[in-house]
């Protein structure tokens, strides 16, 4: 079974992903191709939506922007096995310069997993930070969590929900003041205080 990814976010849908997925499933059946269509989120390359990706041994191969009328020619070009001859083929997704030059943190899993599959989330390091945090006897720093701050904060056992919000907001404020982008790898360490949460930020690269 070959996994074929077709996004289901607003922009992909606006560019015809729903019809594409339905017609591709029908065509695969007609041709006896054994594929599983996974509806992922967008990789963010909206000019290529709908971006169809096929899982191969070398990584995912991307085709885009794919319209329903391209389905036949994609099958003819053996896209199910990552065939590179189709004019819409963009090569390995991870090698597309727009993606390759990015370091994604909060969006690290966007487009990679099936967003409604908890198994998929866990297979991609989901809940890892949370598990680590849970075992920690002292309230740990955000650094240790390595999950999006808003997710982590909501579940912190030692903090009531209201201070959880404060925790996130304050972090955002500090980051803004330091003109630090969220995509810049930043080491965040809490400065201990009984009354005020403050954070020390240092760029790690």
């Amino acid at each position: 079974m070959v996994k074929v990814y077709i996004p289901r976010d607003t922009t992909a849908l606006a560019m015809g992903a729903e019809r594409l997925a339905a017609e591709m499933a029908v065509e695969a059946k007609n041709r006896g191709a054994d594929i599983e269509i996974v509806r992922n989120s967008s990789r963010g390359m909206f000019w290529l939506e709908p971006l169809v990706e096929v899982e191969t041994a070398n990584g995912r191969v991307a085709y885009g922007p794919v319209e329903a009328k391209d389905i036949d020619s994609l099958f003819d070009a053996d896209f199910v096995n990552g065939g590179l001859s189709h004019p819409l083929c963009q090569g390995l997704t991870e090698e597309i310069p727009y993606l390759k030059k990015q370091q994604r943190l909060t969006f690290a899993r966007a487009g990679i997993t099936d967003p409604v599959s908890l198994e998929d989330y866990q297979a991609h390091d989901g809940f890892k930070g949370l598990k680590k945090h849970w075992k920690c006897p002292v309230r740990p720093s955000l650094m240790k969590l390595k999950t999006p701050a808003c997710v982590a904060v909501v579940v912190l056992p030692s903090l009531p929900a209201s201070s959880g919000r404060l925790y996130t907001m304050r972090l955002h404020r500090v980051m803004l003041r330091r003109n630090t982008s969220f995509v810049t790898p930043t080491k965040v360490t809490p400065v201990p205080s009984l009354t005020v949460w403050s954070w020390k930020l240092t760029h790690s690269c």
Binding site: T10, T11, L13, A14, M15, F46, W47, E49
Partner: protein, 163 residues
């Protein structure tokens, strides 16, 4: 669209009763009524006002402040054309002119056969693939006049099939 009969009145009363204790209940109530009935009938205003212990003028003020809320029945399909910056920079004004000509109506109007209502909208969040329109619940990106004509033809074809 149906008139404001006893059933519609009961539906509004049920919605108000169910949601009136929410913090900031007015907007959720208005949304629920419009989602259920397609618009907010003038007779619903006093029911909402009574339920929320506010004046009819206050309810009317909220309904007329937000363009999303309508006080007349919509056509069978609603088409929204984005008029925000990204779409304008990608030619939505020309598209808008074409849409009005094709449908023979302006914004906030419904075609004579009650098939299509045309509404402006200010950003559908699909700027990267502008110009965008929304047909009922579906956003459509990079709309050209010919793509728009196809969409409208599909809508009318579906309508014929129903008959």
């Amino acid at each position: 669209m149906t008139a404001f009969n006893e059933q519609s009145r009961q539906q509004v009363c049920d919605i108000v009763e169910e949601m009136k204790d929410l913090p900031g209940a007015m907007l959720p109530i208005l949304h629920a009524i419009q989602d259920a009935q397609g618009y907010i009938h003038a007779d619903a205003v006093s029911i909402i006002a009574d339920g929320l212990a506010q004046s009819r003028a206050e309810v009317h003020g909220v309904i007329t402040f937000y363009h999303h809320f309508r006080t007349t029945p919509p056509g069978k399909h609603t088409i929204q054309v984005c008029r925000a910056e990204a779409c304008q920079s990608m030619g939505s004004r020309q598209l808008e002119a074409h849409v009005k000509e094709k449908l023979g109506i302006g914004f906030h109007q419904t075609s004579a056969d009650q098939q299509v209502s045309l509404e402006p909208v200010y950003c559908l969040g699909n700027c990267a693939c502008a110009p965008s329109i929304q047909v009922n619940d579906d956003v459509v990106g990079r709309v050209t006049p010919s793509k728009f004509d196809q969409l409208v033809d599909q809508l009318s074809t579906q309508a014929l099939e129903v008959k």
